[in-house]
């Protein structure tokens, strides 16, 4: 059996954040097939592409040395979403991303709790000095989460490549957070 080793595990009061693994594929597949993923998936996405994208999610942990975390409830190892560092090679800078895969995980502040831990990991363990989040202007829930995390619009920052209109939110460094 081949496993990903040395990936950190983060803990919050209600959640565990860990690197994605094979057990998370069905939940990711269902999320990508569902309209709720419309804001983050490519227009030509299908299950084959989704599988490769999932391999990319896992593989970036090795290729970059860090990656995004699946978050689960502490006592139930079922992926509710994904959050954390994400930096495709052609993006202008590193992102702090989040997706909530399951509607049941909404409305409880879980994404905020997970993204807060991932952000602290990026600024702390990884030593980042800045981070952005790229958000579709129509994704009001995601914009609300960015604001709740203390991020603010950075209109001068370059968006990722592509034709889609994207808002850039920049996260404050820990020392200047209120």
């Amino acid at each position: 059996m081949i496993t990903l080793g040395n990936a950190p595990i983060l803990h919050t009061s209600r959640l565990t954040l860990r690197a994605p693994g094979p057990q998370d594929w069905p939940a990711f597949r269902d999320f990508i097939a569902h309209p709720r993923s419309a804001f983050i998936r490519g227009d030509d996405m299908d299950e084959g592409k989704a599988w490769r994208a999932f391999c990319h999610l896992i593989g970036t942990w090795v290729a970059r040395g860090y990656g995004s975390f699946v978050f689960t409830l502490k006592d139930k190892d079922q992926a509710l979403g994904l959050t954390g560092p994400w930096h495709p090679i052609d993006w202008p800078e590193a992102e702090l991303g989040w997706t909530v895969w399951s509607p049941e995980a909404e409305g409880k502040g879980l994404a905020f709790e997970a993204a807060s831990a991932a952000r602290d990991h990026a600024f702390g363990d990884l030593g980042w000095t800045t981070a952005v989040s790229y958000i579709d202007p129509a994704n009001s829930r995601s914009i609300a989460l960015a604001k709740r995390l203390g991020a603010t619009r950075d209109a001068a920052a370059a968006p990722p490549p592509g034709d889609k209109e994207t808002l850039v939110f920049r996260h404050p460094r820990p020392e200047v957070r209120p």
Partner: protein, 180 residues
């Protein structure tokens, strides 16, 4: 972050041949892979890719290992330590057959039988320790060197099959000695 604590794959096989070591990909293989992926050598395997496409493909190699328990091995020259190409079984979809793949990354590695040496070790590992009993491969019509490797690995052309990702070419089938 120290190298020892860097996230990495655990449980990986290492295959040894007379002149090569076949091991799982490492982050340090990226420059050589990118150089290959942006060279004319990719004409028979999807063509030149942009850097970000190559990076996604490279990262996907690691994820494939975790998802399937097998994946692409990098052949490393024993003498120089340099990575010379990738060889490995791939299965990009749950319902797809396992596919043998092989690519030499640079012209400097050609003409010495290294690709065949690596591909044989890969096949013997797949049909031996890995326990699979059959596989397929797709070879572009004009890729003579690759047709020769497919044949010498014991591949049989499946006349009624069309390749999926090669735009024109042959499908080879491989099976363990005991399999149908």
């Amino acid at each position: 972050m120290t190298q020892a604590m860097r996230p990495q794959l655990i449980g990986l096989p290492v295959l040894e041949t007379e002149r090569l070591i076949l091991r799982a990909p490492a982050a340090t293989d990226w420059p050589a892979f990118l150089s290959f992926r942006q060279s004319a050598r990719t004409a028979f395997v999807g063509g030149i890719k942009k850097e970000h496409q190559a990076a996604e493909q490279f990262a996907s190699f690691f994820g494939h290992w975790v998802m399937r328990g097998f994946g692409r091995l990098i052949a490393q020259d024993r003498a120089t330590g340099a990575p010379i190409g990738h060889f490995g079984p791939m299965q990009w979809q749950d319902d797809a057959e396992v596919e043998f793949t092989w690519s030499l990354w640079s012209a400097a590695a050609e003409g010495k039988g290294l690709a065949l040496e690596a591909a044989r070790a890969m096949r013997d590992w797949v049909f031996g320790p890995l326990g699979l009993t059959q596989a397929r491969a797709e070879v572009h019509r004009d890729n003579a060197a690759s047709h020769a490797i497919a044949r010498r690995l014991g591949g049989q052309v499946q006349a009624d099959a069309s390749p999926n990702w090669v735009d024109a070419g042959s499908v080879y089938r491989f099976a363990t000695a005991g399999a149908a």
